[in-house]
Amino acid sequence: MATTTASVSISSTDLQPGNRLSINASNRLMKTGLTTGLELMEMGNASIPVGTEFSLAEALGTADSANWVYICNTSTDDTYNTEVVINETVLGYLNAGEWLWMPWNNGDAAAEIEVQAIGGTNTLEYAIFKSAWTLPTAS
């Protein structure tokens, strides 16, 4: 059984004057509702030019299951950002140097994760941890 752990630390000394911010959390990635760890993953990096919406991850796993997504915009130009979309619904924007960590429901076949570059060609690195993974059928 594989063991995957994700930890976060969020801090600021001046976001809340008089109240130093310090959040620390850690979780172990499990299969849906179970005590066994996730055993499937894919990693990669991508260069995405402006003007096209790209599919970063297709929802080819088991619907309504435990999956986790890490995406980091490794671009360095502050005017660049990447729009992150789930099934045509905009989640938010990753500025250069920013990352996200989120569960991914794989709710239906349309629940793919899409990315679109803004400002210039963005570079992304990503890792997706999955409960199940069905490869696309060969054409």
Binding site: L21, S26, L91, N95, N105
Partner: protein
Amino acid sequence: MATTTASISIGSDIMSYPVNINKTMTMKKLASCHGIEETSGLSNKKFTATTAVVLVLNTEGTAAKASKVYMRNTGSDKANFFYVSLNASAAASATAETIGRLHGGDWMLVPWAATAASHNIVVAPNTAEPMTIEWMVFVE
């Protein structure tokens, strides 16, 4: 200008070689070198029913900007979870766009566009057993 940093560390033995991801970011305004300056503060809420609830209204953010949302299921039971979705109302599991599940101990940190009421952040527990979620919005 405030400086807020978030660091992630992911370690895994899924592959035949160790996977280690470590990254620190400074939360910035959209397409800017300036840091985010506002926050909702850290909040938490205990649930004892499966009714879906709007946890964060889109009006707490600014449309199409680079706000961020942190959430964590503070429990430890992996059988119990919150659905988290972008939604105007109703059950997180069946309408609009479900992001995913936060089981006991799980956390997430995502960018948030706060575009319209359809981008309210809604949570729905899968059980009436007591369960608590904590969250914080970093607002542009």
